[in-house]
Amino acid sequence: MAAPGERLRRALGAAFGGAMNLLEAPMRLAQRRLRAGRIGWVFVAPNLGVFGLFTFLPIVIDLVYAVTGGNQLFPAQRPYVGLDNFKALLSCKNYLDPNSCVRDLFWHGIYNTAEFVALQVVFMIGLSLVTALALNRPGRARGFFRAVFFYPVLLSPVVVALIWKWVLQRYGVLNAALGGLGFATHDWLLNPTTAFFWSVFVSIWAHMGFYTLILLAGLQAIPRDVYEAAAMDATPPWRRFRRITLPLLMPSLLVVLVLALIRAVQIFDEVYVLTKGGPGTSTTFLVQFIYQTGFAQQVREYGMAAAASLLLALVLMALTYLQLRVTRART
């Protein structure tokens, strides 16, 4: 007489076997019909289905919206307008002055996003590299500091923005500290320059840990014997960094550069919660324009938002292509 546990195990095994038997027949049939060359499609079909439904289909729907107008939600009810949405977005008297454009907020978004990308990516990679180099050195509590730098990455962007809002607002922690020390206080989020600066800063603070981790992995992959040889030759530290560390870290740096570029172009959540695009339009980025146009106005311009998101997608596709090239070159 088998124990209850054994009986259950056998029952489960038999049920599993039964299920496998049920699957076997159609798989044999598929193999006979499709032959070995095409049977692979059967295995990737579920994945293709998911990809088609959640990635490819939305792209097609986005295209449909981009060439239709009105404020109706269902594509069948929307009138065809051709390229009118793109023309409106790209129409400017002077491309250097967003206020001269038909869709001024779109161009404010482009210029602000370009400026944000340039500043955020450069400073973030620089700081991530310095941090990775520091964390790679042997020392006490290295694990603790690695966790400290990575911790903000685990936070939700909304939480990050709210924390910093409490710090930076008129009666926030920073002004309280400055006032307490006898310094002048500032409306950090009401001045366009300081609001932009803090948007970049908060974004770097939130994401730096992730890129630091990639660079740290890159640093640890550099063979130690190269450094030992350099030490035997009495190579000075700066030269060692320039001639050994930097060249061997370059593939990781390129990956970090492309990933950071893509993320920076998509900036929205943290800054939207922190500044709501203000003061004025000084921190209004491209994704906020898309959100605002498509989902927050009284009359929702889904077509215009879809056209803007397609233009953004083109930029992201170019950056993704770059990333693939970099990754291939690395491998």
């Binding site: 076997g17 009105g70 206020n99 366009p192 004025g280 906020q288 927050a296």
Partner: protein, 439 residues
């Protein structure tokens, strides 16, 4: 591999177990299906936002309604106001909206409204009781539908920090004082008491409209089409712009963000401003402040043309996608009955939109300063310009209000000049209307 798999055969002893499991699953799925009794229950959902305690009070009234209507189940889903503005239109467009919702900007939703007339026992009662506010939910002069129940009448008005005025020994401007006189007075008080700014207005084109109408803004041309930026509008816009730049008005409210609504209640509650331009719906929040300082509602300041604020208010509106129009109409009719409506108004401290009730003395459960505030607000409601009523009922009022707040706010922040803001306001409104009318 295939041969290994085929070695594992379904054990014959398992067959009864599998059959039993399948039978149990079948029975369970049957149990999940509605029984004859539950199928008869009509379930309606109400999406509700509260300015104070409107949703809990509605929930209590719904419980009473369900007692007398056992076949109808009413669920009140309380949501933030932003969900009404942003999520509800998408839900309705997708055909997945609630049966009823408490909304403000009626033009945003009017295409989805259900005309209640065929389902009401006495549509004439509604016409005589709610007459003027029913127009706000209609699509135009030829529309005679009844689409919802106005839950309260609101009116925009200044709220004054009396304590600061007393400390500064500056008299509070009287009922006929102009906006310029108010600006001078609050600036004096702010300077004397070290307050951050003289006043703040909610970041809303609705709040801006009353003062603009007082300074001569007409908002519509002779044909009834929107013509927002005129001399009167510019007169108030220029004043407001200058007051923001010289510190009379707290700049962070309008200039601090690119788009969207923001109120200044916290700034008022924390003593950062002397006068707060908002409206009657703040009364419940003000009463919760306790004895921290003394406040009062004041008469709307005047301009050369009027001493007007803006009317407004929220309504429970019915949507045509509902599967139970009779139940929806029955519930709204229940809320509209004088005794129930009175309970709602008294418990929520709101000015009733029901005409006969406006002439009665309601038993508001509030301290004396609250009752005094309601008396002032009733006076404010009586001085509203007809333009203000017309604007409030206009289908694209939301587009006008949004463009006004965003563009003037951007000008104050320095992102564009005031003249550019005027052009953009006109363009934004025209684009919104053209988009909405495109078929």
């Amino acid at each position: 591999m295939g041969s290994r798999l085929s070695q594992i055969r379904l054990a014959p002893r398992l067959a009864p177990w599998l059959l039993a499991t399948a039978a149990a699953a079948f029975v369970a799925s049957g149990a999940a299906a509605p029984t004859a009794a539950s199928a008869a229950t009509r379930h309606i959902r109400v999406m509700c936002y509260s300015d104070g305690n409107e949703c809990p009070v509605t929930r209590d009234l719904a419980a009473e309604f369900m007692k007398s209507n056992p076949g109808i189940e009413v669920t009140i889903d309380e949501v933030p106001y932003s969900a009404i503005l942003q999520s509800l239109p998408v839900q309705l467009a997708a055909g997945k909206g609630p049966d009823i919702a408490r909304v403000t900007l009626f033009g945003n939703y009017s295409q989805y409204f259900l005309d209640l007339r065929p389902y009401l026992k006495d549509a004439k009662f509604w016409e005589t009781t709610f007459g003027p506010t029913l127009d706000w939910m209609r699509k135009g002069p030829s529309d005679h539908g009844i689409y919802g129940l106005m839950t309260q009448l609101t009116v925009t008005a200044p709220i004054v920090d009396k304590t600061l005025f007393e400390q500064a020994k500056v008299p509070i401007p009287g009922p006929k004082a102009t906006w310029d006189e108010w600006a001078t007075a609050v600036e004096k008080v702010a300077k004397a008491t070290g307050t951050e700014a003289g006043m703040a207005w909610d970041r809303s084109g609705h709040r801006f409209a009353g003062p603009a109408i007082s300074y001569g803004a007409k908002y519509f041309d002779a044909k009834g089409e929107p013509a927002v930026v005129d001399a009167g509008f510019k007169a108030m816009a220029k004043r407001f712009y200058d007051w923001n730049l010289n510190g009379t008005v707290l700049k962070s409210i309008w200039a601090g963000q690119a788009t969207g609504y923001r109120d200044a209640f916290n700034e008022f509650a924390n003593g950062k401003i002397v006068m707060y331009y908002s409206g009657s719906w703040q009364l419940t929040r003000l009463l919760k402040l306790g004895n921290a300082f003394s406040w009062e509602f004041a008469a709307n300041p005047c301009g050369p043309d009027a001493c007007s604020g803006m009317p407004g208010g929220a309504a429970f509106v019915a949507f045509k996608e509902t599967k139970h129009p009779h139940a929806v109409a029955a519930f709204l009719d229940f809320l509209a009955q004088p005794a129930n409506y009175r309970t709602f108004s008294e418990r929520t401290n709101n000015i009733p939109a029901e005409l006969p009730l406006q002439k009665q003395v309601l038993d508001y459960k509030m301290p004396a300063e609250g009752k005094a505030a309601l008396a002032t607000l009733l006076h404010d409601a009586a001085t509203l310009s007809p333009i203000a009523y017309h604007l409030q009922g206009y289908r694209f009022a939301g587009a006008i209000f949004g463009a006004t707040a965003d563009r003037i706010g951007q000008a104050i922040a320095g992102s564009m000049t005031l003249d550019q803001a005027y052009q953009r306001i006109t363009q934004d409104i025209a684009t919104a209307i053209a988009t909405a009318k495109k078929k």
